[in-house]
Structure formats: C-alpha cells, structure tokens
C-alpha cells in the first residue's frame, strides 16, 4: 500500500485494472466478518463477496440471488426466501453492500426518486429494504460511476439512514453501522469526529483532485491518503480465471 497523496495517471505495479481494484475494495468490506450473510447488490460487489469467501472470509454465507444459500460450487446449504432474509436482517447477521442513486456526506442514501417525492422528476425503485438494513446490520454502498449527481449535498429521499439522521435517535443507533462506500475512484469511510464521509483510499491512477471534482460536497481528506491495496497474484488469478472469466467486471468499471 502506497502512502502517496496523489495517484499516478496510468499503470499499476500489480497490472490490475480499475475494475479489479474495485473488486478488492468491495471484498475487503467482508474481511473478518465471520459466519454472516454477504449481501452484494450489483456485479462488482458480488465478485468481491465471492473473492472474500474464497480467500480471507471462508465462513461467509452467500445466496444464489434468489431464495437459496449456496456454496461456491452452487451446492445448496440453506433456504432464504425474502421473508427469512428480512428476519435475518433484523437479527443482524448480514453485511449488505447496496447501490445508491444519491448519497450524502453523512451516508444518507437514496434509491427512491429524484426531485420532490410528492411529484418526482424521476421515479426510481422505491425505498426497498434500505431503512431496515441501516438500522439492523452493517450497510456499505457501491457506486460504479462516481459523480456529483450521486455524491450530493443532500439526498432527495432518505432511504438508507446516515449518521446525522440516526444521531437524533440514539436508541435506534444501537446497530447502525456504515462501514464503507466504494466507488470507481476510491474507498470512503466515516472515520471523522462528526461521522462525515472521508477519503480512505484512492484506487491507483486516481488523484485526490479528481475525487473532489466528482463529489458534490466537501469530502474529508486526510494528509496522507493511501492507495487501495494491490490484489495478490492469487487474488488476480481467482478474479480472472475463476470468479469472472468472462470479464463482465470491465463492463461495469472501465479502465
């Protein structure tokens, strides 16, 4: 891991692509998580969860994307239809990585609509399980294209609950935990005194200026920003030959 404050513009020592750094950054969310359900939403978090399960978090539970808990080879080891999935969420034995159409500095997330809720400019999915997720189990976010449209000053509809919102309800904060946000530019956490979003690492090839330019609020930036760690040779082999041989990761994140 480098200690540089500014990224290089091209090429990495490991030869890994940006998408592969994103996979590593997502996988790290489940390091040391133990026997819990990894709920990745979106392609790159899914690759990350499977990489974590194959390497440093072998006890993770994974789903087939429908109602079954499955081993890496597809062997069914459990049943998890939607209702039991929600039961499991409230029991806390899960770390979800959700998408975010908008996210703000305190980690409030929106997937419901853009504009005024009463008459939205763009209706999106709806709140889905974001409120229950954020009050019950660790919730991280994945944003494949970091931009000012996504990283906004204030989200239009708070679906996933952020730090400022939960602070007003201390008892509800018992199980609130937003470990990280991963984007195509870097990794972010909330390790600041007021729990505001902080740049935790840059993917190699990305600069602090680039991140600041693509972020619609003032991001906390430490004096020394490390790079997202390199994949090991074995991790690269697993990603390229076993987990995603078709290279679908490069369609979600280019470069």
């Amino acid at each position: 891991m480098s200690g540089a404050t500014h990224g290089t513009t091209s090429g990495t020592a490991s030869g890994a692509t940006r998408a592969e750094y994103c996979v590593i950054a997502c996988a790290e969310a489940w390091r040391g998580a133990g026997e819990i359900l990894a709920s990745p939403m979106g392609l790159i978090p899914s690759l990350g969860a499977r990489l974590a399960r194959r390497t440093f978090s072998p006890d993770l539970l994974l789903t087939d994307g429908e109602a079954l808990l499955v081993d890496l080879d597809g062997t069914v080891e459990g049943w998890l239809p939607y209702r039991r999935h929600l039961d499991l969420v409230t029991g806390g034995r899960r770390h979800v990585m959700m998408g975010a159409s908008q996210i703000d500095r305190y980690g409030n997330q929106n997937i419901s609509c853009v504009g005024d809720w009463a008459r939205p400019r763009r209706q999106l999915l709806g709140v889905r399980g974001a409120p229950v997720n954020t009050l019950n189990n660790p919730t991280s976010y994945w944003v494949p294209k970091h931009s000012r449209r996504v990283f906004v000053e204030a989200v239009d509809m708070v679906c996933g609950v952020g730090h400022d919102r939960v602070a007003a309800h201390p008892a509800a904060a018992r199980f609130h935990h937003l470990p990280r946000v991963v984007s195509d530019l870097g990794v972010f956490d909330f390790a600041t005194p007021d729990r505001a979003m902080r740049l935790a690492s840059l993917h190699p090839g990305v600069t602090v200026e680039e991140v600041a330019e693509a972020t619609g609020f003032a991001l906390a930036v430490p004096d020394e920003v490390p790079y997202t760690r390199d994949p090991t040779a074995e991790e690269l082999r697993l990603i390229r030959e076993v987990i995603d041989p078709a290279g679908s990761r490069d369609r979600e994140v280019r470069g």
Partner: protein, 282 residues
C-alpha cells in the same frame, strides 16, 4: 366439501371501487396477472393496492385504477424500473404510502394476527417517516426504552395470489423456491382469491411434493381460479420462467396500444393474442 372454484371474472366481480386489494408475488415474479387482467376488464377503480410491485402495479396504474398504492418498490426485475408505475408517479396519478420491505412484511403480519400494529426497527431516521406523516412510533415499555415504528396492520378487503397448484377447496401449493408473502396476503384479507396453474385432487398435491409446499390454507381462501399461464408474463417457477421478450415489449409499447391488442378481450383472448405475438417474433 365446499367447491370454491370460480372464474377470474367472477372473482373480480366481487370487488367494488374503493376497496383495498393486496396482490401477492414479488416484482415480476408469480404475480396473479389473470386476476389483474380481470380487474382491468371489470372496470373497477379507486382501489388501494398493497403490493411488492411489478407489472400488476404498472398495469393498474396505467389504466388509472389506483387511488392509493402501498408498496416498498415497483420493479420488473430484469428491467429495474417499472415504466408505467414510473410514469404514473411522475404525473402524480395516485397517492403513495411508500414503506420499507420489513415494514410491509410486519404490516401484513399485524393484519394476519389481528393486531392494530407491530413494532419494527425500520423507518426511524429515514424519510419514510416524512412522507407518511400518519405513521406513529411506540416506545418499548422495558428498560431499553427503544423507539420503534408502530407499523399499522395492512388489513385487506381482498387478496389475489397465484400459485402452482390448488385443490377445489382452496388449498394452494407453491413449487418454486420462494413463497413471497402470499400466505400472509391471504391471512390479512377478508376474502382471498387464489389462481393456480392447475387444479388437482387434494391427494395429488403431496404425491410428489413435500407437505410444506402447501402454502395457503383453505380456511383463508374464498375462491379458487384455474388459470394456466395465469402469471404471464411474470415468472411462475418451476412451471415457467418470465417471458422476457414479452416483458420487454410491454415495457416499451405505449400503454394504449398494449391494452388494445392484449387486454380488450377475456383471458383466453389474452393468451391467444400472446401466442400470436410470439409466432410473429419467431
């Protein structure tokens, strides 16, 4: 032994405008579409629809039948955003009670248990509370003192679900991997209508499948409707998958054109129009 079989049109005719109707399935999966099509034909409107929304919500919204929707989302799964739901929301066509998935599940359970509400650790701190000013909270009477959302019971006048098999008495069986909330919809409702791919003798239900596939009990069922391909174009595993090509066409065809071609006749006319469309495409 009572025979509860009826047609989809008979089931729809039991509804009146202003009722609250729960629709089972999830997104674009095992939706009771034959019953939804019957509601569209019957011209019933002013409905409060309770659903984990898919094309059921899209079609009823496009046809202007929804006064109020209670839902955590609407999606076509392989097409993330339901286009007709979306358009209706963007023109402010109906009232929305947007709740989290757990709140929705707890609301159905409360109704099934005949409770006025159930406490749920979801919603606090989120804008679900802002956009639903009628939602109340409840404080734990024990030492923890935690505040929860008091999710009101989602009591239904009628529930519509679609399953793989049923007997004439109303015992419904699902053979796919996920029951969704279908049994709860039926238990939360004053009347429940179960459509199925095939009606079979009771003994047939457990000849090859395990008894825990018997999802819906006859004690909560009012009517049984045999509707082969009645979930079309949503999935009904393992009987059939989602008709992705048809769904794509649904999502990209202006509503009036779609409705005229596919929804102006009865259910056999719909199925026949689908087959004709499929032949044209092949």
């Amino acid at each position: 032994m009572s025979d509860k079989t009826m047609t989809a049109d008979e089931a729809a005719s039991r509804l009146v405008g202003g009722m609250t109707v729960g629709i089972g399935g999830w997104g674009s999966r095992r939706k009771p579409m034959a019953l939804v099509r019957a509601v569209l034909r019957a011209g019933i409107g002013d409905l409060t629809v309770v659903s984990c929304g898919g094309p059921d919500v899209g079609m009823l919204a496009a046809a202007g039948r929804i006064r109020k929707l209670v839902a955590p989302f609407a999606t076509l799964d392989s097409i993330p955003l339901e286009p007709h739901f979306r358009a209706a929301r963007e023109r402010g066509a109906f009232e929305l009670m947007e709740v989290d998935e757990a709140m929705f599940l707890w609301g159905l359970r409360a109704a099934a248990y005949r409770l006025p509400f159930l406490p749920v650790r979801a919603g606090i701190g989120s804008d679900v509370m802002r956009v639903n000013p009628g939602l109340r909270t409840v404080t734990s009477p024990y030492d923890d003192g935690e505040t929860f959302v008091a999710m009101p019971a989602l009591r239904l006048d009628a529930a519509f679900v679609h399953v793989n098999r049923a007997d004439r008495r109303g015992n419904g069986q699902y053979l796919g991997p996920d029951p969704y909330f279908d049994d709860l919809f039926c238990e939360a409702a004053d009347t429940a209508y179960v459509s199925c791919e095939r009606i079979v003798d009771t003994a047939e239900l457990t000849k090859e499948a395990a008894p825990q596939t018997l999802l819906v009990g006859r004690h909560v069922v009012t009517g049984v409707i045999e509707a082969p391909n009645g979930a079309h174009f949503t999935s009904c595993a393992p009987d059939h998958g989602r008709d992705e090509a048809f769904q794509r066409m649904y999502a990209t065809t202006p509503w009036e054109d779609f409705a005229e071609r596919f929804l102006s006749g009865d259910e056999p006319a719909y199925q026949s129009a689908v087959r004709t469309w499929q032949k044209e495409g092949s």
